[in-house]
Amino acid sequence: MARNLGRFLVLIAAALIYSSAIASSIFQPISDSHRSAALELFNPLGGSFSSVEETYEELRTFEVLGIDRRSDISTAACQSVLEILGSSSSTLKDLFYALKINGILQCGIKEDVFEGVASRLQAVVGGASALLDFYYSVGGLVLIKGQTSKDDLYLADAEGVFRSIKALSQSDGRWRYNSNNPESSTFAAGLALEALAGIVSLSSSEIDQSLISTTKNDILKLFDSIEKYDDGAFYFDEKLVGAREHQGALSTTSSVVRGLTAFAAVTSGSLNLPRGKILGLAKFFLGIGIPGDAKDLFNQVDSLAFLESNTYDSFGSCCRVSIPLILSLPATVLSMTKKDALKVKVSTVLGSNAPPLTVNLLQVFRSGSKDTSLIESQELKFDPENAVYTLDALPKSIDVGKYTFVFEMVLHDSDHKNLYATGGQTRIPIFVTGVIEVDSAEIAVLDSDLGSIETKKKIDLAEENTVSLSANHLQKLRLSFQLSTPLGHAFKPHQAILKLTHETKVEHMFVMGSSGKQFEIILDFLGQVEKFFYLSGRYNIQLAVGDAVMENSFLKAIGHVDLDLPKPPEKAPQPPAQPLDPNLIYGPKAEIAHIFRAPEKLPPKELSLTFSGLTLLPFLGFLIGLLRLGVNLKNFPSSSVPAMFATLFHLGIAAVLLLYMLFWLKLDLFTTLKALGFLGAFLMFVGHRILSHLASSSSSKLKSA
């Protein structure tokens, strides 16, 4: 029992630490767990996906995560890419994704196929009016340009197309899907930016700078509508609820990130996006953890890859959008007894190493109190082997408890300061655990009136005790002990509970009060008799002390006290029924024994058969009697018609009896009655004919006699 409760306390402590770690938003970069999740999520039935889009999403996710599974699906994927590109009836969307797959797999498409597709896409771009048509066709052309040796693939009227896409934009930076639809969408904004970026790269001449700068302005406006979580994550959400294709926050943010990075890559000059928001976007994607859906995983991984790889643009100069750096801790629970060192990892979102930088521990706060920092700012030592920043010894002033550590990343290279987003200070909650010292524990029985001590015993809470006490309702029970932290401070645990258990399993819990280090409880039995339900007898005493940061949380038996309580008055409350053993409720039910009616006792077969034979005896006697009487059939009508009626009459009676036999054996009452109705009518007719014939003949006989 005690051991089980102890385990339970440990579990609670673990759950507390875990939940607070979640709530405090530590963003872990993409790791191996994402890779195994990807392998699980992208597991197509029968090796083929339902659409090229899904195939592309799988390939792209695996490419970013560095999983080599191309050989598994490349043959089938290339096959469908060839089919789609070769067919003149395939949709724009399929063409677009087929080209994207080809970009990853290099399926070896012939030049003339590309030319056919390119001319088709060119035609679509010329006549398009909807945003999605622009997106797929321009995107497809960009992909073809990247995949072929042809450098002369240019849009004829790039600026005109640019303007017609731009015409769909709204004043708040969002885009409409087409000119007929007044509703604007953030998701569409991402698509539009990507298409615009494609047009810029496809343009044979420089696009008008005023167009580029208004688009940049649109991006900044779009960032005004960005939304924020408390933990510092930023995201875009679709305000257009109930639209035909509603996109969630993840796919919307992902779309914007794709468009943003694509656009930043093809234009010169800085976008001047706030670095904190870029880091916040990265935090949003990382804060999802490991998605349970293939599409979500693709959006997460793809966007993070774009955030990380936007370093150099096509002009060879540096970045427009900064690369977020993520500071994470392998462990946020540090044990004082094990002398755990504080370790910090800095990496990019995809988990690759950060550029040279210094991590400073700026401040440490006791959580809950926002006052002064407990330490001076200090630098963490870099361990190049494991790429970990460590603080060998925890600061002297840090005791057990929950803290907030504030870190700062300082990049060594001043060029990097524009390249990376470190997000200023990072606050991370940390638990410091240790062994709490338990001292001067004693239990005593006091006399109520004088307060004098009747019995007093020292106990050692490091192990189980078997103290034996006795008390009556005029006395008091006092339990006291001291708790102090490794540094000698007072410690107030989450739980300090005294439990009394009666022989009948009725339990009473009391919370221990504290003043400083001293914990004490005085149970005045006189005031408690009602609560104890006037149950005299032996009470087992247990003490539980537990906390998330207390490494030696315990539940210990102290002993027992024999209580002598007064007899219960009438109307005294009854002790509550003890909860049933869960085995009784949820365990297997007793087996049901089916009781069948015992078969009736039957007589021996021979006896029954004998009596069956015996019932024939009277019939035999009847026949013999008839013979002796000299019965004959001379009265049977001799003329043909009456004879026929007589025969039919007898046959009719026989038929009715036969019908009864059938009724007994298998027919039901309704069938029988129906048949009987016909037979009866027939019988009545023939019976009447033969009997009236007999009557007339007998009466004529009488007359003649």
Binding site: L629, Y660, L665, H688, S699
Partner: protein, 153 residues
Amino acid sequence: MGRATSKDPQALIHSLRSAYAATPFSLKIIDLYVGFAVFSAIIQVVYMAIVGSFPFNSFLSGVLSCIGTAVLAVCLRVQVNKENKEFKDLPPERAFSDFVFCNLVLHLVIMNFLEEMVKPESCLIMSCRCRWSSCPAEPMGINFAQNITTSMK
């Protein structure tokens, strides 16, 4: 009072036989038939006394079939007998047709009341009320037979 001698019973039987010999031929046949029915019933009752009344429905229908037939035959005899002035105008053929009709009705009821052998699912109305000997003896069959016989008279 004259003392009874050993010859008295013999004389009594003799006189009874000679008196009975004068009965019409058709009545003798009916008497024989009644005797046959009653003996059949007696044998079934003896059987029940030996092995018990299970299955009770079968026993009841068997015995009642015999008794009912006997009663009906007696009724027939009463009506056919020429010496009964009450039924002087009733032709014996009419009496016989009543006898046949009542027998058919009686046996329809008897068949229904007989314990089912092979068709527990198709049972209807009456026979389902008593399954095997689980119910108290229901005097329905007797009432039925009595009603018929009384209506005959």
